[in-house]
C-alpha cells in the first residue's frame, strides 16, 4: 500500500481524541466490526493508530478512503479551521433541479482541466450539506494531502462555506469550479469569517433567535428579588437602570443564544471630532484606525458589557448589526450630509 496513504491515515487517527476514535472509525465504515474488535482502544494513541494502519493495509486502503476519513474528522471538528462565507448569484429566476451527480462531475472536471494534480472527494449529509475536500498539488507534484481546502455547499441555498487553509492562490479556481458545477454566474466573498461553522450557518440562514416584539404588560422583575421583609435600609440603587439595560439588550439581541463568532474588525475612516474647547486636532481628513475585537464568544461578550458598566445601552449599531448584516469585517466611512454622527459601511 502507498506509504503516503498509510502515513496520512496514521496522522489523521492521531488527531482524533482517544475516546472518539472507535466511533469515528465506525462512521467511516472501512474497517469491519470484527476488525475493530481486535483493536485495544485503551492503549496509547500512537499504538492505536499503528493498529488501525495495519488493518487498513490488510484492506488495501487507497487515498479515496483516507480522504473520506479526513472529511468525517473535519465534519465533527469543523472549529479547528477558519471558515469564510461566500454568496453566489444567478441572474434570472430559473430554479434548476439540483442533480448531485451532475454537480460532482462538473466540479471535478473543471478543477482537473486546470490542474491535473488534485484529489477531490465528496460526502453528503442529511441537512443537504455537501462537503467537498480538495487536496492541492502543482503541475509538477502530486497532491499534498496535508494542504487541503474544504467547501461546504447547501444546495438549496446560494451560500458556500470555504476553508481555504494554506494555498490561497487556488481560491479563484475553486470558486470557478463551484460556479460551473452549481450553475451560478458569480460569487462574492461576504465579509464574514469565523471558526464556528455552525454559527456562520446560523447567521446566514437566519437561524439565530430573532427578536420578536412581544407585549409585556408589566415591567420586568429582577430575578433575585430581595424579600420585602428584609432590612428596609437596603435598597437596590440602580435597579431601574439594570432593568432598562436588560430590556434594551433583549430587544436588540433577542432572547436566545448568540451565534458564536471570535472576532470582528472595523476599518475606520471617519473624522476625528473633539470638544472645541480642547483645541486639538481639527483636520479635514479622516482619522484612520483599525479596531479589532477578539473573544471566545464575541457577541455574548459584547452583550455583557453594558451590565458590567463598560458600555452604554443601547450598544452601538456597528456592533449589534453583525448577525443581521451577516458580516464581521467592516469599513466605516463618514456619512456625508445632514447627520455627521451617523455612519455607513459600504
Amino acid at each position: 500500500m502507498d506509504e503516503t496513504v498509510t502515513e496520512y491515515i496514521r496522522r489523521t487517527v492521531l488527531k482524533i481524541p482517544r475516546e472518539e476514535i472507535k466511533a469515528m472509525l465506525q462512521k467511516w465504515g472501512f474497517l469491519s466490526e470484527a476488525q475493530l474488535e481486535t483493536i485495544n482502544f485503551h492503549q496509547m494513541k500512537d499504538n492505536i493508530s499503528q493498529d488501525v494502519v495495519k488493518l487498513c493495509e490488510e484492506n488495501s486502503a487507497d487515498i479515496k478512503q483516507a480522504a473520506v476519513l479526513d472529511i468525517i474528522y473535519n465534519h465533527i471538528y469543523p472549529n479547528k479551521r477558519v471558515w469564510s462565507v461566500y454568496q453566489m448569484n444567478k441572474t434570472g429566476e430559473e430554479t434548476d433541479f439540483f442533480d448531485l451527480r451532475d454537480f460532482k462531475k462538473k466540479f471535478k472536471r473543471r478543477l482537473r482541466s486546470a490542474l491535473q494534480n488534485v484529489t477531490v472527494n465528496f460526502r453528503e449529509y442529511e441537512d443537504n450539506a455537501i462537503w467537498i475536500r480538495v487536496a492541492w498539488g502543482t503541475p509538477y507534484t502530486r497532491p499534498n494531502q496535508y494542504k487541503t481546502s474544504y467547501v461546504v455547499y447547501h444546495s438549496q441555498t446560494p451560500y458556500v462555506f470555504i476553508s481555504v487553509s494554506v494555498l490561497k492562490s487556488n481560491l479563484p479556481l475553486l470558486c470557478e469550479a463551484l460556479l460551473v458545477a452549481s450553475n451560478y454566474h458569480d460569487i462574492r466573498e461576504m465579509e464574514l469569517r469565523s471558526h464556528s461553522l455552525n454559527s456562520l450557518k446560523d447567521i446566514v440562514f437566519k437561524r439565530y433567535n430573532q427578536n420578536f416584539q412581544t407585549y409585556r404588560p408589566r415591567p420586568l422583575q429582577e430575578r433575585n428579588v430581595v424579600p420585602e421583609s428584609a432590612d428596609l435600609r437596603i435598597t437596590q440603587e440602580n435597579r431601574s437602570e439594570k432593568e432598562r439595560i436588560q430590556r434594551v439588550n433583549r430587544e436588540i439581541f433577542g432572547d436566545g443564544p448568540q451565534p458564536k463568532l471570535e472576532f470582528a474588525q472595523y476599518k475606520l475612516e471617519t473624522m476625528f471630532k473633539s470638544d472645541p474647547k480642547m483645541h486639538v486636532l481639527d483636520k479635514k481628513e479622516p482619522f484612520r484606525c483599525l479596531v479589532k475585537f477578539h473573544s471566545p464568544h464575541l457577541l455574548e461578550s459584547l452583550k455583557s458589557l453594558a451590565a458590567a458598566g463598560m458600555a452604554d445601552t443601547p450598544l452601538s449599531p456597528l456592533l449589534t448589526c453583525i448577525p443581521e448584516k451577516a458580516r464581521n469585517y467592516f469599513k466605516i466611512r463618514e456619512k456625508k450630509g445632514f447627520f455627521p454622527g451617523s455612519f455607513v459601511s459600504p
Binding site: 475606520l268 483599525l290 473573544s295
Partner: protein
C-alpha cells in the same frame, strides 16, 4: 506595585538584605504625580559618550525581553567579569547535575560569557551595561561545532542618577535587568546574582498609566521609514466571555493629534497624556459606545518599541533605544524604592 504580585514574581531564594541607607527619591517623576517629563533625547549622534553603537546593539532589537528591577549589587567589579563567568558556569553545571531538566534528552554543554557594553548607558555616572550570554554546544563534535545562543540577559542603568547618587561606595547600580530565553535559565542566573551580590530581582510590571505615557511619548517621535501603526490593546477579562480590543491608529494621524496637544517641545505633562488618551477614547466611544477607560490597557505598540503590562518589551528602533531604556530605568528605580 502590589506586594502580593511582587512576591509571586520574585526569583526563588530571595534574601533581601539591604546594606545601605534607604534610597529616597526627591519626587516622583514618571507618571507618579502631575509633572513634566523630559523627552528622551533626540536621535543620538554617532560619536560622543553615552551613544549606543548600532552594531553592538543590533542584537538587542526585535527580541522579546522580560523586565526585572534589581537592587544595587554589593561588591560587583567590572574587572572580574571572567571570574563571574567561570563561577556562573560552575553553578549551571551543578544545577544540571542536580537533574534540572532544561531540554529533554539533550545533553548540553553550556558556555557562559559575561561582558561589558561600555556604550550602553546614559550619563557618565551610569554604570556600563553588563551582558550575560549562555550558549550551548552539542558535545557530539567538540571542536568546531556551532555555538548556539540560548539565553541572554543584561543589566543596565540609563540616567539612573537618582539612584546612584544615593548609594554608598561598595554598591553598583544596575537597576534594570532584561532577559530573553528559557525561564529556567533566568532563574538560575538570577539566583546566582542574588546570592553572590546580595541583590534582589523582581519582575517589573508596567501599569496602564505608564503604558499610556509610553503611547503618548512614542507617538510623538519621528520615525523615517516604517509606517507602523500606534496600537493599543485593551483587555476586559472579568466578563463571562473575556474580550480583547485592539485599537490601532495610523501613525501620521496619531502624531498629528499629539502635535496639537503637546505644548512645549521636549517636555510632556501628565495633563497632555490624559488629553491624548481621552481623545482616543472618545473617538472610540463615538463609534462603539464602549468606555475604553473602564478597560485595562495591557499593551502599547509603536514603531519605536512595544511594551506589555506584564513587563515585556521589544525594542524596534536603535536610535531610540537609549530613550526607552531611560524610561524603563526610571520604572525599575521606582519599583526598588
Amino acid at each position: 506595585m502590589e506586594s502580593a504580585d511582587g512576591a509571586a514574581r520574585t526569583l526563588p531564594s530571595t534574601r533581601r538584605l539591604s546594606r545601605g541607607p534607604l534610597f529616597g527619591r526627591a519626587h516622583g517623576r514618571f507618571g507618579l504625580s502631575p509633572s513634566s517629563w523630559l523627552l528622551p533625547p533626540a536621535p543620538r549622534s554617532q560619536v560622543g559618550p553615552g551613544c549606543a553603537d548600532p552594531q553592538t546593539t543590533a542584537f538587542l532589537l526585535r527580541k522579546q525581553w522580560t523586565l526585572y528591577s534589581v537592587t544595587p549589587l554589593y561588591r560587583f567589579s567590572n574587572a572580574r567579569l571572567r571570574d563571574y563567568a567561570r563561577l556562573l558556569s560552575a553553578c549551571i553545571a551543578a544545577e544540571k547535575q542536580k537533574g534540572l531538566a532544561v531540554e529533554v534528552g539533550v545533553e548540553l554543554d553550556i558556555k557562559v560569557a559575561v561582558s561589558s557594553l561600555p556604550d550602553l548607558k546614559g550619563s557618565d555616572q551610569d554604570q556600563a551595561a553588563i551582558l550575560v550570554q549562555l550558549s550551548s554546544r552539542s558535545p557530539a563534535s567538540q571542536k568546531n561545532s556551532e555555538e548556539k545562543l540560548i539565553w541572554s540577559g543584561w543589566f543596565c542603568c540609563v540616567f539612573g542618577d537618582d539612584l546612584s547618587e544615593n548609594v554608598p561606595e561598595d554598591f553598583t547600580c544596575l537597576p534594570l535587568f532584561l532577559a530573553n530565553g528559557a525561564e529556567t535559565y533566568t532563574s538560575i542566573v538570577g539566583s546566582w546574582f542574588q546570592k553572590t551580590f546580595d541583590c534582589c530581582f523582581r519582575r517589573l510590571a508596567i501599569s496602564p498609566l505608564n503604558l499610556s505615557w509610553m503611547a503618548a511619548m512614542w507617538t510623538g517621535c519621528k520615525v523615517d521609514k516604517t509606517v507602523s501603526a500606534i496600537e493599543l490593546v485593551f483587555s476586559v477579562p472579568c466578563l463571562p466571555h473575556p474580550l480583547d480590543i485592539s485599537y490601532a491608529i495610523h501613525p501620521e494621524d496619531a502624531k498629528a493629534l499629539w502635535d496639537t496637544i503637546q505644548k512645549t517641545p521636549g517636555e510632556i505633562t501628565q495633563e497632555e497624556v490624559d488629553v491624548f488618551m481621552d481623545c482616543l477614547y472618545s473617538h472610540f466611544h463615538r463609534h462603539f459606545k464602549i468606555h475604553l477607560s473602564a478597560t485595562k490597557l495591557v499593551k502599547v505598540s509603536t514603531a519605536i518599541a512595544s511594551a506589555h503590562c506584564d513587563g515585556i518589551i521589544k525594542f524596534l528602533q536603535s536610535q531610540y533605544l537609549t530613550g526607552v531604556l531611560m524610561l524603563l530605568t526610571e520604572l525599575a528605580i521606582s519599583q526598588i524604592q
